[in-house]
């Protein structure tokens, strides 16, 4: 049995005062009786240190919304409302809850646990229209994250042979393609914003600190990080971490990349275009042992492109959608979602019997640990994440930086050590959640989760199976697909 992989999480508090979910206002007719301070068990209410006769301003970010102080106040002078800054966080896809829960995980390294039942909508788009399965009784003993039995989250990147051939002397004659072992099905993707667009000292600092934190976290975790090869991230300091870096070459024509760097890397990613195969050959000539990934946008004819690339010998295909999990490159009116497209591509490769010839990395809109598990169920081998890494560093997704405004949490000044630990905490918590999902299904390794659509419950299927009959529907639930 391999050595048990574990992620060491260390509580790492944020640098800035957190944005609270609630705002509490103390009215003018407060009589400073201190009842609120007695009933609050979260230390929101305290007396002023310099004058104990008066109550201090409530420490709002600690409030957990139990309403006790509101209801107990003898003057009914406290009011509570949803925090203005909190409700403005992110957007309709990257909701305040998602951002907040990623902050929590980056700080504590713990799985978000709470009391009371689920509070959200019944179902939704994309990943929100599927549930994972569980196994009730018949299966071997396991205890999830507290367990005695090891659940492996290792995935391999690269081409996998269906069988190995031996000659009469028992020597291997098959050419065994290179593979990379990643201890968890998550790698770091290029960042959607904040990175060096021009050689401005601010951006260089961002590169050094933010990418520095990411590179250290990737190296400590044993995973990989994709970096734009044309960008400023070439400083000597990170050359040392080359073994955990995947340079992404987007500009194939000018061949602007640094050949020495390519030689040092285990994997290289190329942006898809018509003559990508010739550049693949060029890179393979430079570094024959490297694994090549081609980055293809999910969109029109993606199955065709993947098929063609796989037959051409490409070992890894990185399929991406936009930040909100929707197709990038699609002419259809209703853009397809990552969940459906991953299933289509995976299914197509299975039909052609070439699924194991290629590794599928899926990215775009992977916002929570559940998305990793669900993308894998839909057919991905692993996922690449971007924004959650920035959330780990306290990013508020205000997008001010995209308009050249100052960052409210000064990401560029992040201490790389601090940042790396926050990312490690986040990934540690995500991995444990993945293990919870696997454990509930009775699976002992994440590789077996890939494409296991039978171990998931899809809204359209279950609606069809049950409610079509209950409501004697004339039109089946999935008829409009």
């Amino acid at each position: 049995m391999p050595r048990k992989y574990s992620i060491e999480v260390i509580p790492t508090p944020p640098r800035h005062t957190p944005i609270g979910k609630f705002e509490i206002e103390r009215g003018a007719d407060c009589i400073n009786c201190g009842r609120c301070a007695i009933v609050c068990i979260y230390e929101v209410h305290k007396r002023q240190e310099e004058d104990l006769r008066s109550m201090a301003e409530p420490v709002e970010y600690r409030c957990k919304g139990c309403f006790s102080c509101i209801q107990e106040c003898p003057r009914a002078t406290l009011t509570i409302r949803e925090g203005t800054d909190y409700s403005r966080l992110g957007d309709s896809y990257w909701t305040p809850e998602i951002i907040n829960t990623n902050w929590y995980q980056a700080e504590t390294g713990k799985i978000p646990v709470s009391g009371a039942g689920y509070r959200g909508p019944f179902s939704g788009e994309g990943f929100d229209s599927m549930w994972t399965d569980m196994s009730e009784i018949v299966r071997p003993t396991r205890d999830g994250i507290h367990g005695r039995e090891y659940i492996s989250t290792v995935v391999e990147i690269g081409r996998k042979l269906p069988a190995i051939k031996f000659d009469s002397h028992g020597e291997i004659v098959s050419h065994i393609p290179p593979t990379l072992n990643v201890p968890l099905p998550i790698i770091f993707d290029t960042l959607p914003f904040g990175a060096a667009k021009h050689f401005d000292p601010t951006f260089l600092k961002f590169d050094e600190n933010v990418y520095g934190a990411m590179a250290k976290a990737a190296s400590d975790l044993g995973t990989f990080m994709i970096v734009n090869a044309g960008d400023g991230f070439k400083s000597e300091g990170h050359r040392g971490q080359s073994s955990h870096i995947i340079p992404h070459i987007s500009d194939l024509t000018s061949h602007s990349f640094d050949a020495d760097w390519i030689k040092a890397c285990k994997m290289v990613e190329l942006e898809y275009e018509e003559d990508v195969l010739s550049v693949v050959n060029e890179v393979k000539t430079l570094n024959p042992g490297s694994i090549i990934s081609v980055r293809v946008p999910f969109g029109d004819n993606v199955e065709g492109i993947v098929e063609e690339l796989t037959y051409a010998g490409i070992e890894v295909i990185h399929l991406y959608v936009d930040r909100n999990g929707k197709a990038v490159n699609q002419t259809r009116k209703k853009r397809l979602l990552i969940k459906d497209m991953t299933q289509k591509v995976h299914g197509h490769l299975v039909d052609l019997k070439i699924r194991d010839d290629v590794t599928l990395i899926v990215s775009g809109g992977i916002a929570m640990a559940e998305h990793v598990a669900k993308a894998i169920i839909c057919g991905a081998d692993l996922t690449a994440i971007d924004l959650p890494l920035l959330f780990a560093l306290e990013c508020r997704y205000c997008k001010d930086c995209q308009e050249d405004l100052a960052c409210p949490v000064e990401l560029k000044d992040v201490n790389p050590e601090w940042g790396a630990q926050r990312i490690i905490n986040l990934i540690g918590a995500w991995r444990n959640q993945l293990i919870e999902i696997l454990g509930a299904m009775g699976l002992r390794e994440v590789r077996r989760l890939r494409g296991e659509v039978g171990r998931a419950i899809f809204l359209e299927d279950i609606e069809k199976d049950t409610f079509d009959k209950v409501f004697a529907r004339r039109v089946s639930y999935d008829a409009n697909d």
């Binding site: 909508p121 196994s135 009784i137």
Partner: protein, 497 residues
């Protein structure tokens, strides 16, 4: 039938929708409002010069606008106004909307069901929230609805049988019973309040997995004791004492994960009850380490029946894709009740990822199991009980029309006792409102008598509502509603694009 008594909230400021605002700079403390308001919103206490702060939760809102006692219009200085309270806007979520929470409080206070869709369904956009009753009587629910009912409702039965197989017959007077909540996850007085309400209504409550407190003994005939995977507090004596034993395989909120009582909540009493050490976290593993097959499962059931031949056995499972097979397996192992706990059910603590994602919502599992048991020809000998997101009497009725015999409730009981669903049951000292906590100080917050009466009232309100719906369907018994899909319609018809 148990007596309904009005039991107000234990807080001086009850959270409510309408806020009556008095502009202090305009008010001259003339006391007109106090004289006018028949509901006691305004009051000038004897000996006081000033009128007290308005008790907003007693206000009925603008519905008295045209009456002579409408304070807003009659204030000589125009100092009064009505608005929506900030608390009302803040409380609640998709599943438990502000109106469901406040509505449950009101029913627990008065014992009278509330009218209107906002007190019947939530805002989750699916499942029960997208289903309505297919009433044919077009009668609408007029103001006299309840009075008419008084004449005929006596003849309508809400009783259900829990054992349809051979052996001792057990029935409950209302088609619901209390879900398992362990001592440790909730306080003793909450546990006893639940038991007392169950006895009053001729139904059951369940110990959960945390032992059988001595104080519960007097309610033995209305207690279900749970045997769960950690076997905490399970003794021969506790099995022999009760009429129903519940085998808990999994819980809807955390299917396949087992339980975890954090060390903070393992107080001296909790530790004694569970035969564990104070302050150490207690894991309830998953699954039963001695059950790998239906045969093993039968062995466990035989063990219970050997210890207590009169007991009937309920098997509590969550809702995987093969839940129908699990139900049949339980039947062949000898279970009397299959208790399906849907994935959106309550919990004292569970990973958020599990609550949202693992296993299917109860709305799908009920017809799936109901149909399969029918096909197998065993539907009439197995009792299906559903839980996991039953928030209102309407949810209970919908679950029954989908194919269940009855339901188990949990969260709604805690809401009746003042839970705001803040979700912090598990952290630190536990529930800040003293419901789901064994903290010596916090758990004093809930008085046994107060709590029991709130629950008795809630049950009464639910029963009235159930009777009214049955009457509108022209049914004499709740048993007639089981699996009557034709009584349900979808709020939004599925159409082709």
């Amino acid at each position: 039938m148990p007596t309904i008594k009005k039991v107000p909230s234990r807080f001086p400021n009850e959270i409510c929708e309408i806020e009556v605002q008095r502009d202090i700079s305009k008010c001259i403390n003339c006391g007109t409002c106090a004289k006018l308001c028949p509901f006691g919103v305004h009051e000038r206490k004897t000996g006081y010069n000033r009128v007290s702060k308005p008790l907003s939760y007693l206000c009925i809102g603008t519905s008295c606008e045209d009456k002579s006692f409408y304070c807003v219009n009659h204030c000589p200085r125009g100092a009064l106004s009505l608005g929506v309270s900030s608390e009302y806007r803040t409380i609640g979520d998709y599943r438990w909307t502000r109106d469901l929470i406040i509505g449950t409080w009101k029913q627990a206070e008065t014992g009278i069901p509330l009218k209107g869709q906002r007190y019947e369904i939530g805002d989750s956009g699916g499942g029960f929230d997208s289903i309505s009753f297919n009433f044919q009587d077009n009668e609408g629910r007029g103001e006299n609805g309840n009075e008419d009912l008084a004449h005929t409702s006596g003849a309508i039965s809400t009783e259900i049988d829990l054992n349809k197989r051979e052996g001792k017959k057990i029935s409950i007077k209302v088609p619901f019973y209390g879900g398992g909540m362990s001592f440790g996850s909730i306080s003793l007085s909450v546990m006893l309040a639940k038991a007392k309400a169950a006895r009053a209504w001729g139904t059951f409550t369940c110990t959960g997995e945390g032992g059988y407190p001595e104080a519960l003994k007097e309610y033995d005939d209305n207690v279900i004791t749970q045997v769960a995977t950690g076997l905490f507090g399970v003794m021969e004596d506790t099995i022999q004492r009760v009429k129903i034993v519940e085998f808990k395989y999994a819980q809807g909120a955390k299917p396949g994960l087992g339980g975890h009582l954090l060390g903070d909540k393992v107080t001296v009493e909790v530790a004694r009850m569970r035969e564990a050490i104070e302050g150490s976290s207690l894991f309830s593993p998953f699954p039963f380490h001695s059950v790998y097959s239906v045969e093993d499962h039968k062995k466990h059931l035989d063990w219970i029946k050997e210890l207590n031949p009169d007991a009937i056995v309920s098997v509590k499972v969550s809702t995987p894709t093969d839940v129908d097979m699990v139900a049949v397996g339980s039947y062949y192992a000898g279970a009397n009740i299959i208790h399906l706990d849907g994935s959106y059910g309550g919990t004292g603590a569970a990973p958020d990822i599990a609550k949202k994602n693992i296993a299917m919502p109860i709305e799908y599992a009920i017809p799936k199991v109901h149909e399969f048991l029918k096909q197998e020809g065993i539907r009439d000998t197995m009792t299906i009980i559903a839980s996991g997101g039953i928030r209102t009497a309407h949810d209970a009725l919908k679950a029954i029309a989908l194919g269940a015999d009855g339901v188990v409730i949990g969260t709604v009981e805690l809401v009746a006792l003042g839970c705001v669903r803040c979700g912090n049951c598990e952290s630190g000292r536990g529930c800040p409102r003293g419901i789901a906590s064994t903290d010596p100080e916090l758990s004093k917050a809930i008085d046994l008598e107060w709590g029991a009466q709130r629950l008795i009232n809630l049950y009464a309100a639910w029963r009235s509502e159930i009777v009214e719906v049955l009457k509108r369907f022209g049914m004499k018994s709740i048993k007639e509603l089981v699996g009557r899909y034709d009584c349900l319609i979808e709020n939004h018809e599925i159409t082709q694009d």
